[in-house]
Symmetry: C2
Subunit: 113 residues, 2 copies
DNA sequence: TTGTGGTGCTACAGTATTTGTAGCAAATTA
DNA sequence: TAATTTGCTACAAATACTGTAGCACCACAA
């Protein structure tokens, strides 16, 4: 799949609007999950794989490369880690953690109606 | 694809942790894009399709159903629209719009190194 | 009442992506 | 030196997505 870089055409936008590149990147299977799981601490390939519910190594490797190419993840001596940008991005995703509970409760209420 | 509902096993978590259900839902092709495009104003099916870079009607319909089932989107007399929950979610995604520019600039700087 | 155009889809074949299993080379530990 | 661990690659099977065609329904017009 074409790497979604801001400035070039991506899935979702021929204009290369940065937000569309970002949504394309994050909309790929496991991208969000990888960022989410990586924020706790740097992980080795296999640790990350196991945190991500045994994502296939093929895909994990593909995603890692994409996230490295887009400066969100980097390889350190402790394993894979979020870059400064990656941490900023995590800061944006983080609130979803608590919101997801609100959402879960609302859905529960709904299913009991 | 199985609907990712908090509380049941989803792609990424057998425990059904709400955040994992949410990340699964949002990690699907076009989910984020649909929420993003829908926040401007309610849209008809075809309007939404055209805003989403001519997403195939098959997939658009699938995603709409998922988002309706998860109380993020609803059908109104003006077309499809974000629910109250959907708007809250958009509030979380919205900051990505401006961050994506930071990211784009950083990547640009990087490519010139 | 017959058209014309828009809308919300469904069908389906073709293509792309993801999974799951196997396994291997290099580095580390025993 | 012999495990064990790690970071992958290969590849076939399963699943998801695209793109085009087209249909049923509605509104309005001739």
């Amino acid at each position: 799949m074409k790497l979604p870089l801001p400035g070039s055409a991506v899935r979702g936008s021929k204009t290369g609007k940065p937000i569309m590149a970002l949504l394309d990147l994050l909309g790929r299977t496991w991208s969000l999950g990888i960022v989410w799981n990586l924020h706790y601490e740097p992980c080795t390939f296999r640790e990350l794989q196991s945190k991500c519910e045994d994502i296939s190594p093929t895909l994990l490797n593909t995603r890692i490369r994409e996230l490295i190419a887009t400066a969100i993840v980097e390889k350190t001596c402790d394993g894979y880690a979020l870059t400064r940008l990656g941490n900023e991005l995590f800061g944006l995703i983080k609130p979803m953690g608590s919101w997801s509970h609100t959402w879960a409760e609302a859905l529960e209420g709904k299913s009991n109606e």
